[in-house]
Every structure is written in structure tokens, then in C-alpha cells.
Amino acid sequence: MARLTGRTVLVTGAASGIGAASSRRLAADGAQLLLADIDGPGVEKLAAELGQAAVRADVTRGEDVDRMIGEAYTRWGRLDVLFNNAGVVRLQPMLEVTHDEWDRVMSVNLRAVFFVLQAVARRMLDQGVMPDSELRGKLIQTASIASYRGGNHLMTPYSASKAGVVSLTRSAAQALAPHRITSNCVCPGAVETPMWEQIDKEWGALEGLGQGEAWKRRIRHIPLGRPERAEDVAGVVAFLAGPDSDYMTGQALNVDGGLVMGN
């Protein structure tokens, strides 16, 4: 099915996990992609496989962000969808979080997500509506169910940063709706990705658990009874990138198998 034929999409954090799975899905649906990641070889490999474009970019650096967005506009003259997905995590007991660690997580997960969104929105304001849509463009952020009560006690800065992503998604929705730009985010649960391998390892080290034990504990109570895959999130990202979600803005959409249900 080619529900996104002709739609142009910039994906940050595209080289692995949810970013990579979403890129595969969006490409399969007919979108044209610019894949961005701090991991240059990784993102180039995926882009080559999908026949799409790649750019190496550190989203915390203003000049990289300008170059990345400039690349999209040079290539297409417009950008229909931003999948603002890059993020990092580190597990630490709350009482041991240092200023540096706090700043590192906030810098990628919140500051960069905001300034990438802002830079893209400024450019989108100058473009016409997408073909077959009343909208100029769509912004999609990756937040997390960690922003809710079910967040992990070892992920304080991460959880705060993702709650911030939900908040700025809503602010952007209000600011940009009159300009016919929507802003929504996905809140994935515990997803089988390289990020969760890292979480499992760090959590295990902190609490003396064997490999895979933290993961098992986290997924035990998922009502749908199976672990979440990056492809589960990709299907929702494809919906948010496509025309069927055109009347939705400011929404934080949980994709977690019912783990927290937004509580």
C-alpha cells in the first residue's frame, strides 16, 4: 500500500530502533526520506538499503540542524513531515544524577527536539499545503510512556525530558494549527530496541539482575501479553505522517500494549 506516495519526510535518530523501523515503513508506504543520525555509517547503510538519502547530524549542534534541514529543502523544496525522534537514555538512581548527566539527556531529548521542531516549523510556514491535504506540514515527536506514572524510577532525567516533549508537542500544536501545521507525538512503551538492551544492562548492573531480567520484569504486565517491537511504533508513525490523522493535533498517542494507559 502506498499511502504516503510523494510525501517528503525527515527522520532524526534514523539509524536504529524506532527511527529505523519507521524509516522502513515510511519508505514502504511510498514516502521520500532524508534519514539523519549522529551515527554516520549506520544511517548511510540504512539509506542505501532503502534507496533514500542520508545526512550525518548531531541534533544538539545548531549548525548540524541547519545543514540537515537545508539538505531537505535543497532536495525537495519543501518538507511535509518531520519525525523528530532522536533521543538518549541513561539509568541512574535519582539521588546520584549529576548536573552533567541531566544536561546531556535534556540537551538531546528536549532542547534539540524543540529547536529541530522550531527550525522546521519556520520553514514549513513558507510552503504551500501538501497535495491531497489541507495542511502545510506535520510534526511528529517521540515521547515515551516514561512521562506517565508508570515511568521507571531509575530514569528521572529521561522521564522528565519525555514529559517535556509531550508539553512542547502541545504548545506547537496550539501555535501552529492556525498555520495548518499539526504536531503530535507517540509514546512508546518498552520496545525491543538497542536502547532497551542498554536499559536492561544498566538496570541489571544497578540492581544485580542477570541479562534480560529487567526486560522480563518490564514486559511481564503488558496487557496485550507480548513484548513491543519497533514495527508496532512504526505503524502509528505512518498513521501520524499520513492523511488519516489530519484533524488530530496536540495528541500524545500511547503505543504500549496497554502498559500504562496514559495514567
Binding site: Y247, M248, L253, N254
Partner: protein
């Protein structure tokens, strides 16, 4: 074609959001079972779905009558073998003379009518399809709440708000119960949507009143049934396989 050979039971399917949902599922390969009380409109809906190349069956039934609901589900299972999708679209705020009556103006009888109309059909159909979906170890249920269910509506009553808030809680609770059986349960919460029932009211508003309402919407237009149906169909599709217990506000940013 997201719904090839999927059996989709849709209530209040002969008009409004239910009808718009039936149109999409029918066009994407699904087998629509349209349920409605209005025989004329129901026949017209089934005819329209078929002439658009879809497969459709009509069932004239009252979603608020437990025997009729059980009968519909039983006949669908007997004839089509399964129920993959249930869309509960029965509901509305305008079944009382003054839809926006304040709490001190609402009569108890009106309160009871609104609670029943907006909750009982959804319960009865969920109750009746659950054993079928449990046997299948799969199924998608989509309920319709409202922005009023978030407590935010000036054009409807507190009884309607309470009922639609009830849909949000009911959706979460049964998502929790039915998740282990591979059944997803979600809802949408629409803002004012111009359906056949509401269009005449909208048409009676002055130009200024309509402009004020449109300006109030961040996306600067009022929803149509298709805006809601598209999100329902996402929730009924494989793309939402890991989404359960959520209520998506489809409100143009309100």
C-alpha cells in the same frame, strides 16, 4: 486494502460517523455488518456500500435492547463465522429538547435517557462480541467518546459529559480485561462533527455564530464525519495492533 475479509460490525451505521466508517471499511475490502434502527436509511447504506463494490449486510436492531443485540451478534457469527471489528457509534447529545441544558435545568428523566443512550448500547455490544473475540483470540473494538467526555463542551449537557467520560473509563477497563485475549479496545473523542443530525442545527446558526465556532477551532474548521472515521479505521487496522486502552481526541486541536 487494510480490511480484506475482516467482518466489521458497526452500530448507528446508517448515518454520521458510523456511516463514514462503514464507507471506508467497505471500500478497503471489509465485510460490513451495518446495524441501525432506521430501516430506510439502513437499506440505502447497504445498497450504497454494495454499489461502491463493497460487501455489506444490514441488521435493523436497537442497540439498547439486550435481546436484539444478542440476536444480531449470534446471526453474524452464524452467517459470517466471526467478528473482527466492532465500532460502537450509537450516541449523541441532542436526544433531549435542550441539548445544552444546565445541571439545574436537566430533568432526571433526561439524565437517564442520555446515560442510557450513550453507554448502554456500547456495553451491550461489547458484552455480546467479547466471547466471540475471545474464541478468535483477536478483535478490535472502537468506542466513541466525545470532547464532552473530557469535561469540555458548551453545546451539550453534564449528563452527556458523564456518559462520554464513562466511555473513556469503560474503554480502558475492558482493554485491561481483554488484552490477554489479543483484543484491542480504544476510543476516539470527537469535537463538534457535522453529521446529518447536527448539520440542520449548524445551518440554523447565524454566520457570526458559525464564524465564532470556526475561529475557536485551532485548525479553523469544524470536523466532518470522515475526519472521525479515518481515525476509527486506523484503530481498527493492524497499524494499531499495539495500541490499546487509549482515547484519541480528534478535535482539530481544541
Amino acid at each position: 486494502m487494510r480490511f480484506t475479509d475482516r467482518v466489521a460490525l458497526i452500530t448507528a451505521a446508517a448515518s454520521g460517523i458510523g456511516r463514514a466508517t462503514a464507507d471506508i471499511i467497505g471500500a478497503e475490502g471489509g465485510i460490513v455488518v451495518a446495524v441501525d434502527t432506521d430501516k430506510t436509511r439502513l437499506d440505502a447504506t447497504v445498497e450504497a456500500l454494495k454499489s461502491a463494490g463493497g460487501r455489506a449486510h444490514g441488521r435493523q436492531a436497537d442497540a439498547l435492547d439486550s435481546d436484539q443485540v444478542a440476536g444480531v451478534v449470534e446471526s453474524v457469527v452464524r452467517e459470517l463465522g466471526r467478528v473482527d471489528i466492532l465500532v460502537n457509534a450509537v450516541g449523541g447529545s441532542t436526544i433531549i429538547p435542550r441539548a445544552a441544558a444546565k445541571v439545574d435545568e436537566l430533568t432526571f428523566a433526561e439524565w437517564q435517557r442520555l446515560i442510557a443512550f450513550n453507554l448502554e448500547g456500547t456495553f451491550l455490544f461489547c458484552h455480546a462480541v467479547t466471547p466471540v473475540m475471545k474464541r478468535q483470540q483477536s478483535g478490535k473494538i472502537v468506542n466513541i467518546s466525545s470532547i464532552a467526555g473530557r469535561g469540555l463542551s458548551e453545546s451539550s449537557s453534564s449528563a452527556y459529559a458523564a456518559a462520554k467520560g464513562g466511555i473513556i473509563a469503560f474503554t480502558k477497563k475492558i482493554a485491561l480485561e481483554l488484552g490477554p485475549f489479543g483484543i484491542n479496545v480504544n476510543a476516539i473523542a470527537p469535537s463538534l462533527t457535522l453529521t446529518e443530525r447536527l448539520q440542520p442545527r449548524w445551518d440554523k446558526w447565524t454566520a457570526e455564530e458559525r464564524a465564532r465556532e470556526t475561529d475557536r477551532m485551532p485548525l479553523r474548521r469544524v470536523a466532518v464525519a470522515r475526519d472521525q472515521a479515518r481515525v476509527i479505521c486506523f484503530l481498527a487496522s493492524q497499524d494499531a495492533d499495539f495500541v490499546t486502552g487509549v482515547t484519541i481526541d480528534v478535535t482539530g486541536g481544541l
